[in-house]
Amino acid sequence: MVRPPSSSVISMSGNMPARITARIDQQPHVKLSTGVLQQGTDLFNYITGLDLAQFNRLSGGFRFLSGGPFQHPGDVMVDQFYAHQHNVHAGDTISLLNRPWRVSGIYQPGMLTRVVVPLDTLQDLTANTGKVSMVYVKLDDPSKTDQVVASLRAAFKDYRIYSMEEFTSLYSVSNIPMLQGFLWVVIGLGVVVGFLTILSSMYTAVLERTREIGVLKALGASPGYILNILLREAALLAIAGSLLGILLSYLTRFVIQNLVPASLIQAIVPRWWPIAGAIALAGALLGALGPGLKAARQDAIEALAYD
């Protein structure tokens, strides 16, 4: 894969002359290359413009579930996930980049893009005539990938050239500047907000039961007995809440997969379950302990008078 000198892993920005493919094709062990143009439509989605004949030779072709390849400049092909999420069928008209497109076909996912339009059309629409943002290169011998990557890097200085394996490996948190730090901040905020929410909820719940605690005191319950009840209840709520949260994460993943399948995938990380459970437990116990201790120690008459 060849990308322009100014490109980055997470950005589709930057482009290069489409004629670069002619020079790439002359390199040893290069069987075929084809340029594509990618244009973002929102934060996570983009349209790919490609030369269908060349791309088919390189990839083995699209497998259509309904309809077929585009026939006209205003045609678009979408994958199954996109069609399901947007309730699109072959022959429908959809709006992209502020213009209508006729859906010529719906293809099986796995073609590195969800929405495909003719390369020329996209180049004209985005004022990128004669330019592409990425070139896919097919080799005559895949075992020579490293060797070809090295020779391409030597021939095309400043261009970003990766094997497919290398490119996909770049999509990790450690390879995207500041992403790891950003994630830790988000996780930290989640932990603090979750802890404080549970703590304040438990605090309020126990405070509202001051009168009931007064009743227990009138019945002869010791402060230890009252605290024992409150803390056991808080622990039970925290454990039940954590289990419910885990079940809900499966539910939200199911909903996302079925309602917006062409979007981000929700990961479920079991190694976070005990951590989340510990946060909930600590928040609940600390939240219950403060007002519980106060109510258990206070005069029973004051507790009974609480409204």
Partner: protein
């Protein structure tokens, strides 16, 4: 009151009891030197206008709050010579409370409300068979598995009475037990208290505004301005 009761040692003996509440910079004299003796098995009605100190006396007798001065002996023991733990033990074993607002725990059934009093007194397990007779007497044996919100006011108060006597306390303190009830339920609850007093020999102190309710007791004590008249 019978002569037999009059000859016993008092189960409650109060001397020179005062209580001052501090409301901001104002001192409120709720009790101004109360003397009172109550014999074992006696049913005493305490009447008086609002602010006369009835409830304060009731709370101090139950060990729920401290007096400013004076002495109280409950079953021969100096109540305020006791530690907090000993007073807690006293509430657990010797004194039962019935409140005007019932004060049942809303998340527990009637049975749960009664059983938690037993649990606090470390008496685990199901209610004893002889107590089931008392539940029949109270007329709540078929309502035990209902939450308080599903019970009428009269039923809730009878559950509260069952909770108060389940650990067989020597003294039952009832603060306006009919204050939230209609006439029919009031009469039923008062008759039950008198019946329990006869059957179990429990000493009962009942605060009331209602002269008719007060007449259910052996003796009526009148309070005004923190004194016993």
């Amino acid at each position: 009151m019978t002569s037999e009761l009059a000859q016993s040692q008092p189960i409650i003996s109060v001397r020179g009891l005062t209580k001052i509440y501090h409301a901001g910079e104002v001192d409120v004299h709720a009790l101004r030197g109360v003397d009172l003796d109550v014999q074992p098995g006696e049913f005493v009605s305490i009447v008086g206008p609002s602010g006369s100190g009835k409830s304060t006396l009731f709370h101090i007798l139950g060990g729920l709050t401290h007096p400013t001065s004076g002495t109280i002996r409950i079953a021969g023991r100096d109540l305020f010579g006791m530690s907090d733990a000993e007073r807690t033990e006293l509430r657990k074993t010797t004194v039962g409370f019935v409140f005007q607002k019932y004060n049942l725990l809303p998340t527990l059934t009637a049975r749960g409300n009664i059983e938690i009093a037993r649990d606090i007194a470390h008496r685990n397990g199901p209610l004893p068979p002889q107590f089931l007779d008392i539940l029949k007497l109270l007329g709540i044996e078929s309502r035990l598995d209902h939450k308080p919100r599903a019970l009428s006011g009269g039923e809730q108060q009878r559950v509260a009475i069952a909770r108060a006597i389940v650990n067989q306390p020597a003294i039952l303190l009832a603060d306006e037990p009919t204050g939230n009830l209609d006439t029919e339920n009031s009469n039923a609850v008062l008759a039950l208290l008198r019946d329990l007093n006869h059957r179990l020999g429990q000493t009962i102190l009942m605060i009331t505004h209602n002269p008719e309710a007060a007449s259910y007791g052996h003796r009526v004590v009148r309070m005004r301005d923190g004194h016993i008249e």
